[in-house]
Amino acid sequence: MPIPPSFDYEAAVLACARGEQFALRALYEREARWLLGVALRIVRDRERAEDVLQEAFMQVWQHAHSYQPQLGSARGWLYTIVRHQALKAVRDPARLQVLEPEALTALSDQMASADSAAERELDAESLERCLQHLDEARRACVLHAFVDGYTHEQIAARLATPLGTVKSWIRRSLASLKECLV
């Protein structure tokens, strides 16, 4: 994700808090395609991913005043809003899967190629380096949770591993990431 340093995310969110609507548009133009990708990967349906993004931007507008720049970056704050909105959409028991089988195949192909491209790019990243310290199954737990939006139960099923093991792997992986990233 090439992010030119010139864009001031913090200033944009603070401007939203002051009611300046152009700042919301600036955030959208800068991040929409990346945020839609994050939402799409979780909800796996284009139309619903766009609904997620709409709801998320409405929340950004409404809650911009609660963002605290001294605690962390505005990008981290923004991505959390979008991911939580996508998780909410995908975990609603009333949700309906509307993707046709061919569309699903195309989507997973596209995801696979994005993964390998991303992996090549990211060798130097400190988070990726710390992830490499985890064994493969534990790393998979963290990625399935964050990127695919899977629950503990879904990860356990996917990795054919007992639920309790998955829970403790995730907890310990996060603890070791924290230590590694200091």
Partner: protein, 240 residues
């Protein structure tokens, strides 16, 4: 439940909150605590930044050109809703009733705006019981349409969030089902983004808790006497 007095549990919960693996109940507990617990909020912000670059594992996706205009309209509606003072004589009805319970904040703001507009349109001469149904997407809780019903007037179905973009060869179909009815009654096809008016005689009844829904169907409508596609929006009438 998380013991928020235990430092290890707090940190673990903050991390899993950001990761997205906290069970629903604990997520609610943590979200509640974040309102007043600044140290916990600091941990959450820290994890947001620690894990942010994992987002790169998702391939970017180009939004449709209709998405920003939809967001823009929704935000302008929220701004209008919060800026517009509600006349005191009319403020009471929505404060008094549990009409808006269960709506998300954004939907609430939109709904309030719509409610004010609908009430003004109905005018002081209107008589008889009146009902509103706010139709929301069952997954995202996004408000899409509002139904207004009143004896002696046509039913009005009003779009809130702008026009839905439909897949080729599909259409929106409007349905109603009174409480206790065996099945839904079709009220015909709906044009995305356009107000629909229907004579009340088309409805099997007009009452509180009456279900209205909009489903995605083939271009010429459902071939059966019930929906065959996914529910895009649904809601029940409440008296106002």
């Amino acid at each position: 439940m998380i013991d928020l007095n235990d430092a290890t549990q707090r940190s673990a919960a903050a991390a899993e909150y950001v990761l997205g693996t906290l069970p629903a109940e604990e997520q609610r507990q943590l979200r509640e605590a974040l309102h007043h617990d600044l140290a916990l909020r600091a941990e959450v912000y820290d994890w947001q930044d620690k894990l942010l670059s994992l987002s790169r594992h998702a391939a970017p996706a180009e939004p449709s050109t209709a998405l920003w205009p939809r967001i823009d309209r929704a935000v302008k509606a929220m701004v209008a809703a919060t800026a517009r003072p509600v006349a005191p004589s009319r403020a009471a009805w929505w404060q008094r009733l549990g009409l808006w319970q269960g709506l998300s904040g954004a939907a609430l703001a939109l709904s309030l705006l719509l409610g004010v507009l609908l009430v003004q349109r109905a005018g002081p001469d209107a008589s008889g019981p009146r009902y509103l149904a706010v139709l929301q997407n069952p997954s995202t809780q996004a408000t899409g349409w509002v139904v207004e019903l009143q004896a002696g007037r046509p039913l009005r179905l009003v779009p809130v969030a702008g026009a839905d973009v439909l897949p080729p060869g599909r259409a929106l179909q409007f349905w109603t089902k009174p409480q206790g009815a065996a099945g839904p009654t079709s009220l015909g096809l709906v044009q995305p983004g356009q107000v629909l008016e229907l004579p009340l005689a088309r409805l099997p009844s007009v009452e509180a808790q009456q279900l209205f829904e909009i489903t995605l169907e083939p271009e010429t409508g459902s071939p059966l006497d019930r929906p065959t596609g996914p529910i895009l929006y649904l809601g029940r009438t409440v008296p106002i």
